[in-house]
Symmetry: D2
Amino acid sequence: MLYQPGRHFLQLPGPTNSPLAVLQALALPTIDHRGPQFGQLVRGLLSDLKAIFKTTEPVIIYTASGTGAWEAALANTLSPGDRVLMYETGQFATLWRSIAQQLGLQPEFIAGDWRSGLDAAAIGAHLASDARHQIKAVAVVHNETSTGALSDIAAVRKAIDAAHHPALLLVDTVSSLAAVDYRHDEWGVDVTISGSQKGLMLPPGLSFNALSKKALAASKQARLPRSYWDWEGMLAANKSGYFPYTPNTNLLQALRVAIDLLQAEGLDRVFSRHARAAEATRRCVRHWGLDIQCRVERQHSPVLTGVIMPAGFSADKLRAHILAQCNMSLGAGLGKLADKIFRIGHIGDFHDMIVTAALTGVEMGLTSLGVPHRSGGIGAAMEYLSAQAAAAAA
Amino acid sequence: MLYQPGRHFLQLPGPTNSPLAVLQALALPTIDHRGPQFGQLVRGLLSDLKAIFKTTEPVIIYTASGTGAWEAALANTLSPGDRVLMYETGQFATLWRSIAQQLGLQPEFIAGDWRSGLDAAAIGAHLASDARHQIKAVAVVHNETSTGALSDIAAVRKAIDAAHHPALLLVDTVSSLAAVDYRHDEWGVDVTISGSQKGLMLPPGLSFNALSKKALAASKQARLPRSYWDWEGMLAANKSGYFPYTPNTNLLQALRVAIDLLQAEGLDRVFSRHARAAEATRRCVRHWGLDIQCRVERQHSPVLTGVIMPAGFSADKLRAHILAQCNMSLGAGLGKLADKIFRIGHIGDFHDMIVTAALTGVEMGLTSLGVPHRSGGIGAAMEYLSAQAAAAAA
Amino acid sequence: MLYQPGRHFLQLPGPTNSPLAVLQALALPTIDHRGPQFGQLVRGLLSDLKAIFKTTEPVIIYTASGTGAWEAALANTLSPGDRVLMYETGQFATLWRSIAQQLGLQPEFIAGDWRSGLDAAAIGAHLASDARHQIKAVAVVHNETSTGALSDIAAVRKAIDAAHHPALLLVDTVSSLAAVDYRHDEWGVDVTISGSQKGLMLPPGLSFNALSKKALAASKQARLPRSYWDWEGMLAANKSGYFPYTPNTNLLQALRVAIDLLQAEGLDRVFSRHARAAEATRRCVRHWGLDIQCRVERQHSPVLTGVIMPAGFSADKLRAHILAQCNMSLGAGLGKLADKIFRIGHIGDFHDMIVTAALTGVEMGLTSLGVPHRSGGIGAAMEYLSAQAAAAAA
Amino acid sequence: MLYQPGRHFLQLPGPTNSPLAVLQALALPTIDHRGPQFGQLVRGLLSDLKAIFKTTEPVIIYTASGTGAWEAALANTLSPGDRVLMYETGQFATLWRSIAQQLGLQPEFIAGDWRSGLDAAAIGAHLASDARHQIKAVAVVHNETSTGALSDIAAVRKAIDAAHHPALLLVDTVSSLAAVDYRHDEWGVDVTISGSQKGLMLPPGLSFNALSKKALAASKQARLPRSYWDWEGMLAANKSGYFPYTPNTNLLQALRVAIDLLQAEGLDRVFSRHARAAEATRRCVRHWGLDIQCRVERQHSPVLTGVIMPAGFSADKLRAHILAQCNMSLGAGLGKLADKIFRIGHIGDFHDMIVTAALTGVEMGLTSLGVPHRSGGIGAAMEYLSAQAAAAAA
């Protein structure tokens, strides 16, 4: 195989490009997971993670993919046959529903069009019709990674409360945490699910549950069998900074550095950097004359942009060409969107010029393959970013 | 805090010291888990892992601690209320039993003294008494990491067959795989459980299930709820080299290198290197006049040696002193052995002089703290190793 | 200090961005510079370097900056008071002249305008006027890094031969080797000087002298005092793969990987990749309406483009703004060009999209600072690169 | 080739084992050697190096082996034909003399036996006989790396002063700096030469000259030609934190971390750690019944121990066997000591157990090859180190 020169650009909506300092921490020698240095590390992480979830309640770290944290949220709070209200924002909401089914729960799925986020009013109406409170949880996705639509979680909480419904609120923030403002406590979320490989800038392998008092109380009654995901043993061991079983020590060492970098930049700056990149990307795509998968303006995701290929053109062929010419990976269309859209990730560790770089790669690909578009989209993105930079410098 | 100079020696029975090449592969930039490079990587790994488990059937890779793979083996093959025969070889057998209980199974636990491996005859007798074949699986630990006792798995299979019992055989090889000769197919094992952080020389974070045709057939009937651990979706996705959810891509990149190194050295050389280290260690400990936790000669573990502290002396104080003086972590006594024994790991990536180094650290600790012992144990170890080296060179 | 997110782009004409594999090799533990592994490494390097210089004669590796290799070329071949003909292509030619003066040589300097490469006819004329052959060497720069002008070395050799002059030909290829086609033997060069931190994609710290038989013969007579730079001791030690003093072992380990990568891509592909990047860059700059420092079309450098700032605008302010906004370093104007030009490096380990990325950074900087230019230069670059990629794929 | 498992032990008297943090800093991406981050880095290094040399005068950093810094010290202070008084402590003193000869100086060499450090009285006597002060410099080695003898530099200064002689004092501390207490100002040294790859725990590639006012004044008159080594241009550029040519930026980044680690441990602790290791090593060697190359008790080197092989046994065969069995490199006998001695390095980044490890490797090698020795030397070393550790803890 030929050597492909130059850095790879991993412009997926996750996993994201990890800072070198994070990767170097990952490669530090493994330390004793029962030793004093490890306990000190973990106590600091468990404390600092709270600020990232914006909660004062415990956060649990799993050595698992984000999918495991989905299962954990369900298994710790629910019992066989429980009804769960879910909302079809896209492929990831659909996968989470499958997990609920596999665990023996009864998901009720509000249909969606995969081109927008959730409709809190529909959730409220559904709950209002559940007079006997058979629905035990509402489980929704904050940022739907398969489409690029961001939903209003505070509105969901308001809808639940307005319906005077006791259902727990479970929220997937796998692709939004540490990239988009998210407020576990303020928004009344009971379990927040997240993962390491997106805004936290780590490789995949860790996932999270942030809890509420209500969720903890529910876990005492929940009868789904659970062991690996069980909160109780984890919380007991975490008190002194340890785990009930051997966790991924090296990812925890890397998480320390990732949090340090987020703190150094400041979460608000991180959020505005993502929002700026997303706006620049959308201006470019619109200039090209291509459609954006999310069609609701206020629900555009700050972390990825789904772009619809013109009819008759394969998104996957475009991605393959760009990978070969530009050493850049873009996100594929998932589920029913396969080959129909591609997704540009602008999440994690990047700066303005990485955004414009990625856009030049896409435009060169469109041109090389003869995909119809209006050239000059990069100019629209650059104009916006230059104006922002000039304003920031002023 | 003061800088502690010199390399840390992680002489635990796992996690073990990772080779630098493995750590550097871990720190390579994350790659697209849906891209062509990743599929190629995974297909190679799934194929090469078979040779390590000595099986022709599929091996499944979980992004999880070894504990998760314990749960996976049970959840995929058994149904609520099923009886499982287990054997109390030590702390890890006891933990596995707890998991079975948490999942709603009924473990039957043959009592052990934590100073020996299992007694296959006792298993055979127990199965023979189960005329109605209510016991659905025999679940045992190959190398009991908490004590340092290795059990004869082939003998367990013979005992099951001699009892004409249809129970599945599930075996934990978390701390033996790739360090001790293990033969999944030849020994008739149905599910072999293992982890990344011991003989495979990786950090924690991956774990494994090796399957048999009988285990796969059982999984079609098994009714324990499962999603993350489910074999079916995993095997379907693995066919083309992918995963049903985002795995720990970086540990998979590191696993490639770890397997390359094992292949370069050759598994038989790896096994004899571990056996040699274990014998040298025992000669040293006996010279000191200290007792070894495993009291059955043919069951001594090649990967760790449990050493019993003289009455009145704290094993944990000794370990803390050695950590401070020698920058070496030793394994703690676990469960009922807490503070009573310490465990010397000789597993993973090491050579003769790392073994003698660790022994000098222990002997200096014993001397510094005034723990009664006969000095000169290192000499016994060195004499043995020198003779082996001279023989190999001849 | 705030954390500046995203990878740094080191778009200097050297040092260049090193591939991660090279940096990881650099960070391998230091090995015994007198051991068997080291001898094997060095023998391979000395052999493979010949193919990169396109010579069959020895190549010498110094643990030193490129500046040291300039001195070495002079000190090994010349005697106090010797005349050397040099050519003012820019700042680096000027620095080399200073070194000659410091060593007690008498450089004769053909004046240049810093906007073009050398004029071989002028060299020929100068030599023709040296009837007594007092000029002992012609010392010229292949690629003048301060301006971006590439000179025709074969033409210099022809001019020397046409003048029937015995002068040695010494050539600086610090910023061209392994990026631009260069032929030590075919072009009749006597000493080629180079460095590690440009086309070889290593950090600074190694430099080179490639020799000819004539140069070696001259070194027997040369009377400039020398020790560190002395070829004789070096060649004697190199025969078995060692050095007369402790070299930079880690850079040598990294050089192994750098050469492997160059071989994997193939030198001809490497050269055309650089040429393509340079053409794309020039199309962009011309679209902007900015002047290029080198004003001779056939002498444009494939590895950097010098861009002249419009009157009244500071190149250094532009570079500082781009560093802050885009995390990109550009080359400064040197010597009399300070603050008047900036230099875009397109050399080493890069692909098409890194070129367009850098250009977007520059254009955003121009826009943010209100530097007059015609927008849309990136489009010109992308159009060219897309067409090239489409042609390559066809 | 077979993979040799386990970490390599580089127990040379340099290059030494670099801490991982140093190697990771070395592998950071190269930064712009003319950018603001680099200037800040260098200003900090130049300041902090003074504390390591214990001087208030400038320290110069060369991108070169230590050999280059030897040449630099001579070339900046002396003129062709100058006499230099040197002392034959061993191979490195002899090499330095050769360099002086190559540069056209006239070294006068006080003969030594390679089994002791220098005799300051002999130097004083020699100078006293130089009534016309034709000797311009006294150039001596602080720690003779080829034999393991440490010389008293303060005594040399006293001898020079007692002779009322104006000669400069030049001292090689390549293998003692940052490992043995050394005081440039207090001992009246004019130029101190050192290197990166020993006590500073870096790979080879940087070397140093620490200056005095008198040395600087001498450099204004010194007429040896020089350019790369010239102090004047270097000091001018260093004022703002830059270099007159591209230095080894990555080693400078690593030097930052190395100094941070030395400061964290504290130089006095570093010195006593080395002294303790040396004493333990000598006790072991004496127990074996082998002779130590340095035969003067108060001149034993804290950083290495030269061990004389019994007649009829090859030191190189022993080293090769130990390399194969124990993955450890030991220092070879150099010059006239080739194959007659081996040298155990105990310098740089190590702790007690690395010392005992190395000794077990040597003893196993002696045993395997049948080299006559009294077994149990490790016990003598451990007894000493345990007592020291117990005392430190008390």
